[in-house]
């Protein structure tokens, strides 16, 4: 069942010089009880995609398309109706937990505020639920910690508290934007395990954003590969990471050194830098760095087509090879 | 072709600062007022209709003279004019009072010949920007006169020369002391830093007023007025560098651990050159803001000292000294125009604060980071 269905989402920013098209018509869906992973490098638009679902984009952003949540278009809702959904039905986990918590209030006060706003329950009940949630995410001495300030929490603990806060109102969808970037590997492992466990036990739907292919292969069921506001490839995690079709995904996967990478060989790398949005021309957005570019790529932007069941790729070269194969078969 | 496009896109730091600064209406207003005030002080003697030291014993405690276009007969004059003034003894209080003589009309002219003075200290002239005939039976006293009959408008304008420059000069000296001590203290650190910091704290913990008083006592009363002026500037900057030095030390400390400083050290660069090439250029913008924001303090300090009779002395003048005319309630109620120089102090101080605030926004580091 589709919980979230995003159709032809476009996000552009007005700047002093021009209008930048940061998300260029992407569509995706999140099913009940599923983790959808979004991977992409800096500037690919991961954060603004999630902010657009929460309707939290800054004033200079223009959004079009549809964001259907339980078949209701979030973009049509009034600010008041959106308030009912934001933080209650859809919640978010940020990369920087310190910016999500106000340093002047105790963790408990901030939990209470959220619970009170959405559920209007009594004080004792609020505390009981908050402490229970803190315990669930593995914070020791949760009762004591409830009355502490954010700075009294360690890095790993504050990240857990952030997760607890996001889960407090039993949301249907949780959006996690790079929740473990910057954490130590051992703590990252703890947090990932925790998120996965909670997601499984409560059959939560989740959008998990990261630039780390290792993390995404551990967490996600399906993934989207985003590059400069376009989906280049999407499908089951295994298909996309272990038999990628798009030259970008292929490059990305093979450029990561792993423990088994030989010390003597050269690492595979994608040439060039990610261009900035203002440098983008028509045609495929990966054109400038692509190893398999053709004439058509410069002119026309490719659209997603299915290479195997549920596995979509947007690449002219892949499409051409496919057609050749098909013709051969005929 | 591509290159030109790229260079066009990149706005220099300076352009960015100007753009942000111009967004602040208060900053612009403050800036314009300051420019006007400084132009005014530069051409003070020319602008003022009378010499600021000339006594007009016939017109003591004269209230501001109103300016008219239409005379008592309802006739319109192209040049604005003032009425003549006659002295009369009040039959009840026996006090001398001024009555307006509506029969005498003195038009205000531009570039009139009046009392002679030295223009910009270069040559002697007697041309004033505006005024009435020196032979008139009356005065053009826009802000009234004091107990010696000196024109307070002229005195205020000339007083600005002291008040508006004392802050600038004072800050310039504090700036140099503050940068040297602050940067060294921050960069060298250790015991040197500890001693300097304690010294600054001791200096800062003294109440400033008694300290000014004590220091200004050292200035011998026999000194000529220009010496006194520089004496005051010295006193102000000797006490004013501490705040700046602290700020600079703090910023130097935060710069010291920056990686590009470490890289310079690994290149074998000397400490002094690191401070000059790497630390100071990067903190200069903040220092300028802090300096701008400390000028008002200096202006107020000079005013306070002069008000208390410990600063600028007659016959020189400054806003603080002029304000001392209004030292008692009685004096204020009888001669409310004595408060006008106070308004100038307030306007100048506020303008500096506005400009400083706008500069701070313009230099805001976060605006830099965000492309």
């Amino acid at each position: 069942m589709k919980l979230l269905n995003v159709k032809n989402l476009r996000i552009s920013f007005k700047t002093s010089k021009s209008e930048l098209l940061a998300i260029d018509g992407i569509s995706f869906e999140v099913n009940k009880g599923e983790i959808l992973g979004i991977v992409g490098e800096t500037g690919s638009g991961k954060t603004i995609t999630s902010l657009s679902i929460m309707r939290l984009l800054p004033g200079n952003a223009k959004v079009s398309g549809e964001i259907l949540f339980n078949n209701k278009n979030l973009l049509d809702l009034s600010e008041k109706e959106m308030d009912e959904i934001r933080g209650k039905k859809i919640s978010m986990i940020f990369q920087e937990p310190m910016t999500a918590f106000d340093p002047l209030y105790t963790i408990g006060a901030q939990f209470s505020e959220v619970l009170f706003k959405h559920e209007r329950i009594r004080k004792e009940e609020i505390k009981r639920r908050s402490v229970e949630m803190l315990k669930l995410v593995g914070i020791p001495e949760a009762e004591k910690r409830f009355d502490q300030y954010p700075h009294e929490y360690s890095g790993g603990m504050i990240q857990r508290a952030m997760i607890a806060l996001a889960l407090l109102t039993n949301p249907e969808l949780v959006i996690a934007d790079e929740p473990t970037t910057g954490l130590d590997v051992t703590i990252q492992m703890q947090v990932l395990n925790l998120m996965k466990r909670i997601q499984r036990t409560s059959n939560l739907s989740m959008i998990f954003i990261t630039h780390d292919l290792g993390v995404i292969s551990k967490m996600a069921d399906r993934i989207i590969v985003l590059y400069l506001g376009k989906i280049l490839e999407t499908g089951n995690v295994k298909d996309v990471i272990f038999s990628p079709f798009h030259p970008y995904t292929q490059g990305l996967v093979s450029s990561i050194p792993t423990l088994s990478t030989s010390r003597t060989g050269k690492l595979h790398s994608i040439p060039g830098n990610v261009p900035s949005l203002s440098e983008i021309k028509k045609g495929c957005r990966f054109y400038s760095r692509c190893s398999q570019r053709m004439e058509i790529c410069k002119e026309k932007s490719p659209t997603l087509f299915e290479v195997s069941s549920g596995h979509y790729v947007a690449c002219w070269a892949v499409e051409k090879n496919r057609n050749l194969v098909k013709m051969d078969e005929q | 072709m591509k290159k030109t496009k790229e260079t066009k896109n990149v706005e220099t730091d300076f352009q960015k600062m100007v753009r942000v600064f111009l967004k602040s209406p208060f900053g612009i207003a403050g800036g314009i007022i300051l420019i006007i005030l400084y132009l005014m002080t530069l051409f003070a003697q020319f602008i003022s209709p009378y010499n600021f030291t000339d006594l007009h014993s016939k017109y003591r405690y004269l209230p501001p003279t109103p300016i008219h276009w239409i005379d008592s007969k309802g006739k319109f004059h192209i040049f604005p004019f003032v009425y003549g003034i006659k002295e009369k003894r009040n039959p009840i209080t026996y006090a001398m009072e001024y009555v307006v003589d509506k029969n005498e009309i003195y038009p205000i002219h531009l570039f009139v010949h009046g009392e002679s003075y030295k223009f910009l200290n270069l040559f002697r002239t007697n041309v004033h920007l505006f005024g009435i005939s020196p032979k008139a039976h009356g005065m053009l006293a826009l802000f009234g006169t004091d107990k010696y009959g000196r024109d307070l408008f002229s005195r205020t304008i000339v007083g600005g020369q002291v008040s508006m420059t004392v802050g600038l000069l004072g800050i310039a000296i504090s700036f140099v002391i503050g940068i040297i001590i602050g940067a060294l203290s921050g960069f060298i650190g250790g015991t040197f830093d500890l001693i300097i910091q304690r010294l600054i704290e001791v200096l800062m913990s003294f109440p400033t007023l008694p300290l000014w008083l004590a220091l200004s006592m050292i200035i011998p009363p026999s000194w000529p007025s220009t010496w006194v002026y520089f004496g005051i500037v010295t006193v102000l900057s000797l006490l004013g560098w501490t705040g700046l030095a602290r700020v600079i030390r703090g910023m130097t400390l935060s710069m010291r651990d920056k990686d590009f400083i470490s890289a310079a050290r690994l290149a074998g660069q000397t400490k002094i050159k690191i401070i000059i090439h790497h630390v100071l250029p990067n903190i200069m913008s903040y220092v300028i803001v802090v300096a701008t924001l400390s000028i008002p303090g200096m202006i107020l300090a000079e005013s306070t000292m002069s008000f208390l009779g410990l600063g600028i002395k007659e016959p020189m003048t400054s806003w603080g000294l002029l304000l001392s005319n209004a030292e008692s309630l009685e004096s204020i109620s009888l001669h409310p125009w004595f408060l006008i120089p106070g308004a100038f102090i307030i306007i100048a101080v506020l303008s500096f604060v506005f400009v400083g605030d706008a500069l701070r926004d313009a230099f805001d580091p976060y605006q830099y980071e965000r492309k």
Binding site: E41, T42, S154, G155, G156, M157, D184, V185, T186, I187, Q188, M189, Q190, L192, N193, K196, H211, D212, L213, G214, S217, K218, K238, I241, F242, L252, V253, S255, I256, P257, T258, L259, T261, R263, K266, L267, H268, S269, I270, N273, V274, R289 | K3, E6, V10, K258, D259, F260, S262, A263, R265, L266, A267, G268, Q269, H277, H278, P281, N282, Y368
Partner: protein
């Protein structure tokens, strides 16, 4: 390659005082580096891995002489003579050791054009007679790292993180160093750019005969760059071994924990790896073995006696599991 000893680090300690109160009395110490012994041979890259706060950066900065050691000694050998780099040393010795920093945004002076940043070290050394020669040399180096000559006349804010990191690399290699400390040079870069920079670093190392001290918390990159890997925990080295061996047969429980926490693109992820606890603060270092608070094999002795780094199965390990004789000795007494 030539196997002369480049660096000899003996019982190195770097403590940062914690000051409080009006007189800024020292109330305690952050023991960032707390007794490190290490030898580095010329041409043999050493990678250092460890969690945040384990003292990697502090160790690196102390080695190049940016931080004065609190205790112990870092001896740097240059043409047969031994130097301590935090003291004042001849300019050619000073410049033969360079460092590349983690944050590409703070490693270049934002007010200086690239050329002014790059020429600083060359001018101190007086390496060139004319400005032309110098500019030419710098331009060639920029091209070598995949940038353009024209970039010399631009400001740092016109470059991406990856490009800035290349400029930092040029600054470091321009003085023809022997030894470079690299502090997580790729951790802030995008995946696709990271591989380029790592390839470049490896190429330069071979071509210019450099020795790297490579700090990272990515074990895979540590292995790719370093012949050897040292694992740091709370200011101490707990295990050193050839990188292949360290990864294939880790000894120290912390090394094992670190390796098990590495997430790589894999089809089957182990269900749930038990990874307990967080590192304690370096202000209150646990007694005995500093890892015992998180160690699944902690014994009684671990709380009391700090284990030494001893040779075991080709590796150097600081763990009581591998110092049987010592254990026996202590139990007897």
């Amino acid at each position: 390659m030539n196997n002369e000893e480049l660096l000899n680090i003996k019982d190195l300690k770097v403590y940062f005082p914690i000051r409080k109160g009006i007189f800024l009395q020292t109330v305690g110490y952050i023991k960032a580096v707390d007794g490190v012994d290490l030898q580095i041979k010329s041409g043999e890259n050493l990678s250092v891995v460890g969690e945040s706060g384990s003292g990697k950066t502090t160790l690196g900065k102390t080695i190049v002489g940016l931080i004065k050691p609190t205790g112990g000694k870092v001896a740097y050998n240059y043409n047969g003579k031994s130097f301590e780099l935090f003291r004042s040393v001849p300019i050619n010795v000073r410049q033969s050791v360079q460092m590349i920093f983690q944050d590409p945004f703070s490693s270049l002076n934002p007010r200086l054009k690239i050329v002014d940043t790059l020429k600083e070290a060359l001018e101190i050394r007086k390496m060139f007679r004319t400005k032309r020669e110098m500019i030419d040399y710098l331009g060639t180096l920029l091209e070598k790292v995949g940038l353009k000559r024209e970039y010399l006349y631009r400001y740092p804010h016109e470059f991406s993180g990856g490009q800035r990191q290349r400029i930092s690399i040029v600054r470091a290699i321009s003085v023809k160093p022997k030894f470079i400390v690299l502090d997580e040079p790729t951790s802030s870069l995008d995946v696709s750019v990271q591989a380029q920079v790592i390839n470049l670093l490896k190429e330069l190392q071979r071509e210019l005969n450099l020795t790297y001290f490579f700090i990272t918390h990515n074990v895979a990159i540590a292995k790719y760059i370093g012949q050897k890997i040292a694992v740091m925990y709370l200011g101490k080295i707990v295990e050193i071994n050839d990188s292949e061996n360290l990864i294939n047969s880790p000894f120290h429980p912390y090394t094992r924990l670190l390796l098990s926490a590495v997430v790589e693109p894999k089809i089957e992820h182990e269900k749930e790896i038990k990874v307990g606890g967080e590192p304690p603060s370096p202000v209150n270092v646990p007694s005995g073995c500093r890892f015992h608070t998180r160690c699944p094999f902690a014994m009684k002795i671990c709380e009391e006696v700090e284990p030494d780094l001893v040779e075991y199965g080709g590796a150097f390990v600081a763990c009581h599991l591998y110092s049987k004789e010592r254990t026996k000795q202590i139990e007897k007494s």
